[in-house]
């Protein structure tokens, strides 16, 4: 992988050149004392040293609500698919969020490709940045998601006076050539990058007490653990944990009709397994009507089900759920570690 250098004083020029291109440039901005991804109007709005954005960049690939089909009722039903995709450059995405997008890519392609997701994805460019100031709730170091060699067009690392830029795709290379002032990276700068990454790894405050690969088996043995009931007693079923999750991709599909009772649209909107009606089916049966089974399901989804299905864990350790959960029960690391401790005492 080729590496270049952008001097810090030249970064604003690169960002502003991108903003003035035909793409929408999205990056982490300050919002009420936190950070949130949003459209950039100027490079000065962009924060590259943020710890965690409140929401993942997922909404640029899977919007909270989107129209899938427009239809017209009549003697013959007419229906047209709706696929909307704008060119977006996500600037300053942390590795764990890139890993999450890699999971979404797998989930929305495969045997049942999702044309709405894939059309957007094809128009999204990802400029990553290594996270050097991890959030206190993050545990990426335990999941191998603190850094990434894949999933980006460009990857930045702050080494003090400049940024090392790893080139991950020809598109990234082209953007760099067209819009940025760069120079070749020296060997010592690449060493500095490794040091920065190593230093960041040591800053994580939360860690798994086992290796990530052991999670599916641990969960396999933990179905009857009391921890699910204990924790879920405080659960508000508010869905905050799944709404802020970069890997949660569930949605509900509904129809809406205009007042003329002829034209209508079919849309989808985010849904989540922690919500009471998520597993409600026709006839009124709800497969997970109590918060204990919903809580357990989410943990299994994160640590076992998606692993078995896609070969990737359903959690990237970003810490958003733990940060968003008012009841302070959402951290997968906390539950996994409790389960591990239970096993240790049992065995």
């Amino acid at each position: 992988m080729e590496n270049r250098i952008i001097e810090k004083q030249n970064m604003d020029v690169f960002v502003n050149n991108l903003i003035n291109s035909d793409a929408e440039v999205v990056g982490a901005k300050r919002k009420d004392g936190k950070y949130a991804f949003g459209k950039l109007a100027d490079a000065t709005e962009l924060c590259l040293d943020y710890d965690l954005a409140l929401y993942p960049p997922k909404s640029y690939l899977l919007p909270p609500k989107e129209t899938l089909i427009k239809f017209e009722l009549g003697e013959e039903l007419e229906a047209e698919p709706v696929v909307e995709a704008e060119r977006v450059i996500l600037f300053g995405v942390h590795p764990y969020d890139i890993k999450a997008i890699e999971l979404l890519d797998v989930a929305f392609s495969g045997t049942n490709p999702d044309i709405n997701y894939l059309s957007r994805r094809a128009k999204v460019t990802i400029i990553g940045i290594d996270c050097l100031n991890p959030n206190p709730n993050a545990f990426c170091a335990s999941l191998g998601t603190a850094t990434t060699d894949t999933g980006f067009d460009l990857m930045l690392t702050d080494i003090g006076a400049s940024y090392v830029v790893a080139i991950g795709s020809s598109e990234g290379e082209e953007l760099l050539g067209k819009y940025a002032v760069t120079r070749e990276a020296t060997q010592s700068e690449l060493v500095q990058r490794d040091e920065q990454r190593q230093k960041a790894l040591a800053k994580y405050k939360v860690a798994l007490s086992m290796s990530a690969e052991d999670l599916p088996e641990l969960l396999d043995k933990s179905w009857d653990s009391p921890v699910f009931k204990e924790k879920s007693e405080k659960c508000l079923s508010c869905g905050s944990c799944v709404m802020v999750c970069p890997t949660c991709f569930c949605f509900d599909v509904q129809d809406d009709i205009a007042l003329n009772l002829k034209q209508g649209e079919r849309y989808r909107q985010w849904d989540g397994c922690m919500l009471v009606d998520f597993a409600l089916v026709a006839g009124g049966e709800n497969f997970r009507r109590d918060s204990e089974t919903r809580f357990r399901h989410r943990m299994y989804r994160k640590g076992k089900y998606l692993w078995e299905r896609y070969g990737k864990l359903g959690c990237v350790g970003c810490g958003r759920c733990a940060s968003a959960c008012l009841a302070e029960i959402a951290s997968p690391a906390e539950t996994f570690n409790t389960l591990k401790e239970e096993r240790r005492q049992h065995d």
Partner: protein, 245 residues
């Protein structure tokens, strides 16, 4: 023949009826599909042959009780519009004080000329088919119900809390900003409008079907509210419910 609608006001600010009138363009479209035969706030004519009755306001007097029962006899479908009709709403604040005292505070020396009873939602007096909670009700939810009724489709309110909609619009949590909020137990359907505009959720859409009130109360206490503070917050719109007692 088009379905015939009537709008009736009880104790409230009539803002939910205003929401219907505020439609303008959609109202014209709606009138292609229905006849409105009774709507004091919007028209002079009064017909009593309505099939669907939309009720605005809470039940707060003895005469309210007999009037709502008459409306129920006539209407095939009764819809409670807004927080007052569906929850009792702010009217229930008076329920925490003796009725005589309320009369004295409001009417002074003339208190003896009036009567008042503890405020209650319409459903406490007569069966109600649909409720459109909120202060005011969400008029697009009103339209959604109207379309569902016209098409014979099922109508359901969201059964998840405001937090879901707050997250969908990308708000910073009120608790993270040092405030407090009833959003985690309050029924969504408002697009989290209060939080989005810089305030907190007051609970005007009532609670979700299965709210974890104990957990919410614990969280509010952790964020500095006393037990009295918490009850006062719930009483603003949900005074009729057990959660406020």
């Amino acid at each position: 023949m088009k379905p015939r609608l009537g709008f009736f006001d009880f104790t409230g600010c009539e803002g939910c009826q205003l929401e219907v009138i505020n439609f303008e363009i959609e109202l014209v479209e709606l009138l292609e599909l229905v006849d409105i035969v009774n709507f004091r706030e919007a028209m002079t004519e009064k017909g009593e042959d309505y099939e669907i009755a939309f009720i605005d306001g809470a039940i707060t007097t003895e005469s309210d009780i007999s009037r709502i029962k008459e409306i129920r006899e006539q209407a095939k479908i009764v819809v409670a519009m807004g927080a007052c009709a569906s929850l009792g709403g702010v009217n229930c604040l008076k329920n925490f004080r003796p009725m005589e005292e309320n009369l004295k505070i409001v009417y002074g020396d003339c208190a003896g000329y009036y009567n008042t009873i503890p405020a209650r939602p319409v459903s406490a007096v007569v069966p109600v088919e649909y409720e459109l909670p909120g202060c005011p009700m969400n008029r697009y939810e009103f339209l959604k119900l109207a379309k569902a009724l016209l098409l014979g489709k099922k109508f359901e309110l969201p059964n998840y809390p405001v937090c879901v909609e707050c997250k969908m619009v990308g708000n910073v949590c009120v608790f993270d900003k040092g405030g407090f909020c009833l959003g985690p137990v309050t029924r969504a359907g408002c697009s989290a409008i209060c939080v989005t505009t810089g305030r907190h959720c007051w609970g005007c859409r009532g609670l979700v079907d299965d709210p974890n009130v104990n957990s919410e109360k614990e969280i509010l206490q952790k964020h500095g509210l006393t037990v009295d503070d918490i009850l006062n917050q719930f009483r603003i719109f949900n005074g009729y419910l057990e959660v406020s007692k």
